[in-house]
């Protein structure tokens, strides 16, 4: 039984936890970015981590990918504690996950097919012909058949994302991470990418973690949504639960209303004049 207040949804029955984040705290210098984040991702579900810019969602993703070490706390992915500092275990784990980056992150010096087979070249002993056939298969899945020999610079934004998905799933990962999959795309293409994520989950049964600030996309694909704000998980629940949540902060986020800041005139003046010495009143004293 899971501790977070969610209903079991139809698409993903309450399965075992594949990612568990516990008491995750991160600082950039003195600035706190994540404040004791707790999150569980279940096998086979699509979990969307949603939040505005500066909410800490990208940082949380970078921690889950082992690209940055947190100040404290643990992250276990597929039974591997990636915060333990075991480089070999992390390298092993990385063969079982796929990542589609926001920019696609295709290697510009390689063709599409070379990009896609790279993980196979590096991690398997398959012969080149088999690798190429596997790459074609994945390109069919993402709807990019026939573009094998093009370079990333010759592709459109949507095609780059598709190619990035093909590379991310070439090793048949257990978990697929997607960073802002529909950012920077026109609505039709963005919607097609959302469909692709749903198709991939249906076809391959993988767990998908999506980080996004696009509400429409989140509501369309998510089994559960984790709302992240100001370095804290406000709520984790199904789409309906998030939509109907009584919290004003969550509703502000959903309706894109900025938080009301009450301005203290003294603090405001201090902020503007800080480097020019003490406040005039203080100087007089």
């Amino acid at each position: 039984m899971h501790t977070d207040a969610t209903n079991t949804d139809d698409a993903a029955p309450a399965n075992e936890t594949v990612i568990s984040v516990r008491e995750l705290v991160t600082h950039y210098g003195p600035r706190p970015i994540l404040k004791s984040v707790e999150l569980d991702v279940r096998d086979g579900e699509i979990l969307v981590i949603m939040g505005g810019s500066g909410s800490g969602k990208s940082t949380l993703l970078r921690h889950m990918l082992g690209l940055e070490a947190p100040t404290s706390g643990t992250i276990r992915i597929l039974e591997t504690d990636i915060t333990a500092g075991d480089a070999r275990a992390l390298a092993e784990l990385r063969r079982r996950i796929g990542v589609a980056f926001q920019s696609g992150a295709l290697f510009s010096s390689m063709t599409v097919v070379e990009n896609i087979v790279l993980p196979l070249v590096e991690h398997t002993d398959l012969d080149p012909v088999t690798m190429k056939i596997m790459a074609r298969l994945k390109l069919e899945v993402v709807g990019l058949a026939g573009f094998e020999e093009l370079r990333p610079s010759e592709l459109s934004g949507g095609m780059i994302k598709r190619a990035a998905f093909a590379r991310a799933i070439i090793m048949d990962p257990k978990i697929l991470f997607c960073d802002e999959p529909s950012a920077g795309l026109d609505p039709a293409v963005a919607s097609a990418i959302d469909d692709l994520i749903l198709d991939l989950r249906a076809a391959m049964g993988m767990t998908v973690v999506v980080v996004t600030h696009e509400l429409e996309s989140a509501f369309k694909i998510a089994d559960r949504i984790a709302v992240l704000d100001n370095g804290q998980i406000l709520f984790v629940g199904t789409v309906e639960e998030v939509r109907g949540h009584p919290s004003e902060r969550i509703q502000n986020l959903l309706n894109r209303r900025p938080e009301d800041d009450t301005i203290d005139p003294d603090a405001y003046l201090d902020r503007l004049t800080r480097e020019y010495g003490p406040h005039p009143d203080e100087r007089r004293r």
């Binding site: 970078r62 990918l65 690209l67 390298a91 990542v99 992150a105 295709l106 790279l118 993980p119």
Partner: protein, 271 residues
Amino acid sequence: MASAPVRSPVLQVFDRFGRAAVGAVEQLGRGAGLVVESIYWLIFGPSRRQPVRPRAVFAQMMEIGIKAVPIVGVMAATIGVMLAIQGIYTLRIFGAESRVTLGIALSITREFAPLITGILVAGRSGSALAARIGTMKTNQELDALSVMGINPVRFLVVPPLIACLIMVPALTVFSDIVGLAAAGLYVGLELGMSMAAYGNELVAVLNARDVLHGIGKSVIFAVLIAVIGVLNGAAVTGGAEGVGRYTTRAVVQSIAAIVITDMLFVFVVTR
């Protein structure tokens, strides 16, 4: 809490100097770390199922070495002729033009061939390396490598480092030969000396130590070019503008490092 701003201009100078010094030491440490990590992957890569690919090394050797042959050849020939002109002009004062071969041979093999090769490779390949890695960083390609379980140092740094270590000394030998030959042609025309006589004189005045002195330096230059290129590429922040800034920095730093190291090397070895 951010540290309190330093107000006095004098203190500001010290503050800046101190920060620059700490930055330089940090950079040195990172460079040394990079070399050690590269050696680690070269030796232990295969046992960790991450070998350094010979194909990648050959591709870099082509880029850094073979494609630089024309420009290195032209520059070496130009410097050879220039040294011959200056040597004959200077020695004519003492009526000792016939001894010009000695000056040319030692200047080219000990100093000019490694130096000009190093500077050219820094300009061509050090900058290219910084730009490539910088662009990859801004495009999240370095992160992509990491999350695919591919170590970026093994994949991106070791091949150009090995290629530099092989090709910079090789290019130095090539520029020794071209520089000496071009100088010989000029000396032959100016002083009426036959190429055979010039060749014999070269053999008589040059010893292996002089040639090795130049090649030894070129090995150090090779490491400097690769490491400074990579460090600047990895330090890129701020998108395309950052790539341009750090590429320039890579060239300036590696040329400065080459010239300063050259002087230190000569000081240590010849004294």
